[in-house]
Symmetry: C2
Subunit: 592 residues, 2 copies
Amino acid sequence: MTFYSKRDLQFQLFENLRVMELTRHAYFHDHTKEIFNLVLEAADQIAENYLRPLLTEMDRKEPQLVDGKIQVHEGMKGIIRQFGENGWINATFPYEEGGQQLPNTLHMAAGFIFQAANYSASVYPFLTTGAANLIRTFGSRELIEMFTPDMYTGKWQGTMALTEPDAGSSLSDLRTLAVPTEKDGIYKIKGQKIYISCGDHDACENVIHLMLARIQGAPEGVKGISLFVVPQKRVPNGTSNDVLTEGVYHKMGYKGAPIAHLMIGSNDGCEGYLVGEPHKGLSYMFQMMNEARIGVGMNATAIGTAAYHASLAYAKERPQGRKVGEKDPSKPQIPIIQHADVKRMLLFQKSITEGSLALLLYCSKLSDIVHVGEGLEKEEATLLLNFLTPIAKSYPSEMCCLTTSAAVQVLGGAGYTTDFPVEQYYREARIHPIHEGTTGIHGLDLLGRKVPMKEGKALQLFGRELTTTIFHAKEKNELSTYAEKLEKYLGKAQQTTLHLLAKAGNHTEAFLADATLYLEYIGILTIAWQWLKQGITAQEQLEKGTSEHEFYQGKIMCLRYFYEYELVKMDALGKRLLSSEMPTLDMQENWF
Amino acid sequence: MTFYSKRDLQFQLFENLRVMELTRHAYFHDHTKEIFNLVLEAADQIAENYLRPLLTEMDRKEPQLVDGKIQVHEGMKGIIRQFGENGWINATFPYEEGGQQLPNTLHMAAGFIFQAANYSASVYPFLTTGAANLIRTFGSRELIEMFTPDMYTGKWQGTMALTEPDAGSSLSDLRTLAVPTEKDGIYKIKGQKIYISCGDHDACENVIHLMLARIQGAPEGVKGISLFVVPQKRVPNGTSNDVLTEGVYHKMGYKGAPIAHLMIGSNDGCEGYLVGEPHKGLSYMFQMMNEARIGVGMNATAIGTAAYHASLAYAKERPQGRKVGEKDPSKPQIPIIQHADVKRMLLFQKSITEGSLALLLYCSKLSDIVHVGEGLEKEEATLLLNFLTPIAKSYPSEMCCLTTSAAVQVLGGAGYTTDFPVEQYYREARIHPIHEGTTGIHGLDLLGRKVPMKEGKALQLFGRELTTTIFHAKEKNELSTYAEKLEKYLGKAQQTTLHLLAKAGNHTEAFLADATLYLEYIGILTIAWQWLKQGITAQEQLEKGTSEHEFYQGKIMCLRYFYEYELVKMDALGKRLLSSEMPTLDMQENWF
């Protein structure tokens, strides 16, 4: 069963994003389109042969905690080995570290394929990549040599260990303690961590936690948090490092990945290695978190994409009912894809997932430029990526809960049964608005931090990018209506933002009370922009008289759908955001 | 754990709906408020003692097909017996039939309590009520005496058996065949039925299917469908009637209720009893389906209510973060209910579920008036109920997918685990936009049938009811803003409806292409009306200087929330509905 569109991924990367532009940077100089296509083809093969076949089974055979060890599906060992041996874990790292200097954009595109095939299985190697990247960026040579080689091969699992029972959204309340020892850079760690993805399992030989803790005597709050490498087993001797698995979470979906509750140093036997300088842990971790946030948006998009293709296939095959107005019951039934309401549900899924994919690959390209660019280009890419991160994380996460729901609806009763994969996609999509910062947290991040930062420079850059796209779209007759609409909504969004910012000084609570709605509002605008960009790319091909008329018409129809059905939602959100009524502030706890 | 608000149910029934007005009808004359409260208290006790304790367990121990028989949770036998022995199954039927002449409104309110406690378990007896009601309304005395007594005691299960593999939304394509026999009124039945709720299980001794089939030689389409009673075991001898269970569906949620795939007459041994006249089956079945549709709205609302109360309890207890602007990390964390965004998610849930409950109880009262009323009152109630049924089915069904999602979000990571019930509510809510007619079908019903019927008379009645509420709300200073808003949106909705109707003749496809959006649009308007009504009731109490200030303030705040955050969504939907662009019609199958 198709779970993503190869054709669309080609369009996204090479035609719309123009990913080959990256190869003008020295770091990516060796790469060609052929190499990138080999990378994508290799990802497709792993997805098809290793990940996809276990999708359902990994959902049904959940990880179990047996004698203190989490047992995962027996197929995971082989999958992780595939990722390690084929160089996926450190693909983006420099040649001298054994990497391939692959652009993050291609790594993300490959990730999209893996995630669409089997989200749970795809999580393990990507976590290791993020953890290893933290060590190699901020750790000493000693730490790098000690830990990263076995992470790159997939022998060891990497994690990010942040959350504690009393510190989820509020990281400043972390309590895990690090006490210096006589050994330089080594601390005794004590505390507990919850919701640690891949925090323990039997498909790898060791688990390397990148863990936040507070050095004894450190300042309160976020300024006193440090980053440690905390292996499950000591290196190199492999004895226990007193990181015990207290439990494994049973979840609604995303069941193939083990989420652990860990007790650290309960027997005073846990040693951790300080990464970088003391008290800078949170800023280091934010490197991993920002990558992970774009990653979460991609996970959601991939799951939404797989659900879209499953429901599309069903809609083409399932006969039910007749055209509106056709009353003759002796006429044969038509495939449901011919009903307007089913087409609406498919266009909804297609426009959200392909629009999100465009945004996420765009962000990935920005991250490549941040990595290898220089001067103004790098500075602007950094700002823009910072601004877009909460949107790229949250819009796909929230919306793919709805697109997977639409996929279930297309299948009707069948969609609610376990005979089809869409119900699993619906359950798996639901984690994304929660992990790596809830949608509420990202709303506060966008409106409270990203919009005002550097006197609104990121917001201005964002506006400039949209204006550029609008300018080019206006050059095409077929797109000028959409360009004008986007221009109008951009103008409204700027006014609305100013209206909100006016409250920032004196009425902080009122300023931020509807930050989640603001995030949705700007999210819609952002995806509308991505659709206008795709529209330009498609229209150029249509003007050239492409032989793939149908593919590009599909893109134009999605643009039209998005502007007719989604963009208008900004009217309702905008009205609310401009209102002076504040029921969520006035509401009292005991009135519920 | 609280799963509904007794106080709110009192408000809804006695203060807002004025359910006691029904007792002026002779049929309900014997009832008093005390009796109604005893009924509600009895329902609460069953819910608390029998249903609620099995909520989680019934989700985890799914029904299984063993040797051709579906085995359900062992507790179901006792639960069904409770319903039967305490007279719940035939409570609304006349005294002379052993019933209690209980208003449907009270039966629905009790159902709401059962469904909030354990949705799957509540389904069994309500299906039997509906099936028995069909027999007693349209069946012969012989059929009534043969089947209903053991259905009333809960010894036998009733079902509605409509769907077939090729006939789901398209009932006109039913193929199950009925061949006359020598015995008067008895037919040989042959075919298969899928998705039959409680279609087979071991908690009852027999299953009585109210089944649609086509008499040999009957006209094609809906005009050739007849209704039969098809028992699983023959009556009275208890031998097999050749209704075999081919399978049990495994589902995302709603797992405690067995949904069966049935083979009927595979060995030519199935006898069915014709109910009423030949070829009138669908019109008979619509009695049951219309009741069931209001019932589905109530199910969704009840699940949404239970999720709301679970997330409310969590939000009051869970400390996390500090007030916006409070930077001192040494200050204690605050309960998350104090965060504006959490209050927003709670107000969302409260306003949707209590607004839906008000609508559903209002529809139930209309159904009582249809049943016992006379003349114009009955005529108008019939029309209005007809008009409101697709809305009362679909708005709560669609929205409670979102409210249960908000409940999950309030709990964050915890909400995604099976340690809390909200993930189960999220899964269970998802069936309701599908069964008893998908949302798409109800959109077509509302716009294609209910709006134009009797020259728009139902729509006019609906407008008149809203106008009456607006008139009364304008008399109160505190509510006049909301009254004016509702008046404005009602006016817009009338214009939008006329705009759509103008296409009805020449462009039927365009007329109905966005019927689902129209349903949502009118749904929001309807719930806004229900909130204005509740606002009037609450404001009257506040003016009287009630001692329950907090409860009524909560109602006023919900009204404000709904008008600020939900009603504005009509702007976006209205804009779309007035647009002449039709991407869902223009989109071609091979462009996806």
